[in-house]
Amino acid sequence: MSTQDSYTALMCSLPRSERLFVDRLPPLSRLRLNKRLRALSPEDAKVLHILEHVLSWQEYDIEITEAQAVDRAKQALPLIPHSTLRRLFMDRMELRSAVAALRLRHRGEPAPIAPFGFGRWTRHIPAHWSEPTFGLDAPLPWLKQARHLLEQNDPLGLERHLLDTSHRQLKRYGARHHFDFEAVAIYVLTWNIFDRWAHSNAEAAAERFEVLSQQAMAAFGDINLEGTHP
């Protein structure tokens, strides 16, 4: 049987990726996903690990430098034999490079001298540093909205916009793959986006709870901790 159908049973044993974003409860935990992924061949499991190692934020230390992240991506790219996954990988790293450049500029940093980030725009971005979207409106149409959200100091909105953009990229690449390894890898990367999405929701809920509880406490400022009125 061709590789086109090599993971039919595995893909059919997973809930639809769209359900991840609409169900109130997660339809698939990471533990259960990992159990299903045992069906992958050792070679494919290795490629998936490489992809996740570079594309999943959980795999990065908070103190990692830009040069280290770029090195990691450069080392990983030749180890990915599937052309769709390579293109997807490039797209995602270019997205990250462009967002990193936006953030640097927002902090008031000058244009980097050396090539910046990873992908096709490493020289283009420093050369167009003063332009609102580095002159990348056409190839990266999502960049305009990202810049807008960054300038409005809306980190949660920016995070969601980037997750949404990444999700749309994955859907576009996944449309041509149904039961092969690429489909499995794209599913796992979508699950990672869902996971970050769920965490950002939890963080938003925690912030909202904090604000509401402070408002409530302000309204009843005369209640002391022992629960007795003065």
Partner: protein, 147 residues
């Protein structure tokens, strides 16, 4: 030369049967794997999934019927006709069987989440079956012209 022509004639007689078997085996395997995967995800409706995964088994039957229709004494005069019809009908059945297996796998994958689209999801598989029937029927019709 005559021996080669006669061998091609025999090849043409058995090809629909052999390629039909391969088609059904691969098609049922693809759809069967999909049904096994879906059964680990849902709590009911297992029988429907298994039923769909048997859809591509019809191609081996078409192949057997074409083989019996073509089966006759092979001569240098009719060997070319037997070869042409048998091989091309077999290839058509092979592609239809594999494609139907994939269509069934997609139908199972979709129907496990939305049981209400179960019938509609089978439409592509039914259309592919129709193409297989065309190849089958016209192989029978045209084989009547071979002496």
């Amino acid at each position: 030369m005559n021996e080669l022509v006669l061998a091609l004639g025999w090849l043409g007689i058995y090809a629909p049967m052999a390629l039909g078997t391969v088609a059904s085996a691969i098609g049922c395997s693809i759809a069967g794997q999909a049904s096994i995967g879906a059964m680990t995800e849902v709590d009911s409706g297992y029988g429907r999934f298994v039923g769909i995964s048997a859809f591509p088994s019809t191609f081996v039957i078409y192949g057997i019927v074409i083989m019996f229709t073509l089966n006759r004494e092979v001569t240098p005069e009719n060997a070319g006709g037997l070869f042409g019809i048998g091989i091309l009908a077999g290839i058509a059945l092979l592609y239809c069987g594999i494609s139907q297996g994939r269509a069934c796998a997609s139908a199972i994958n979709a129907a496990k989440e939305k049981p209400e689209i179960f019938g509609l999801a089978l439409a592509p598989a039914a259309i592919i079956e129709g193409f297989g029937v065309f190849a089958f029927v016209f192989a029978l019709v045209i084989s009547a012209g071979i002496s």
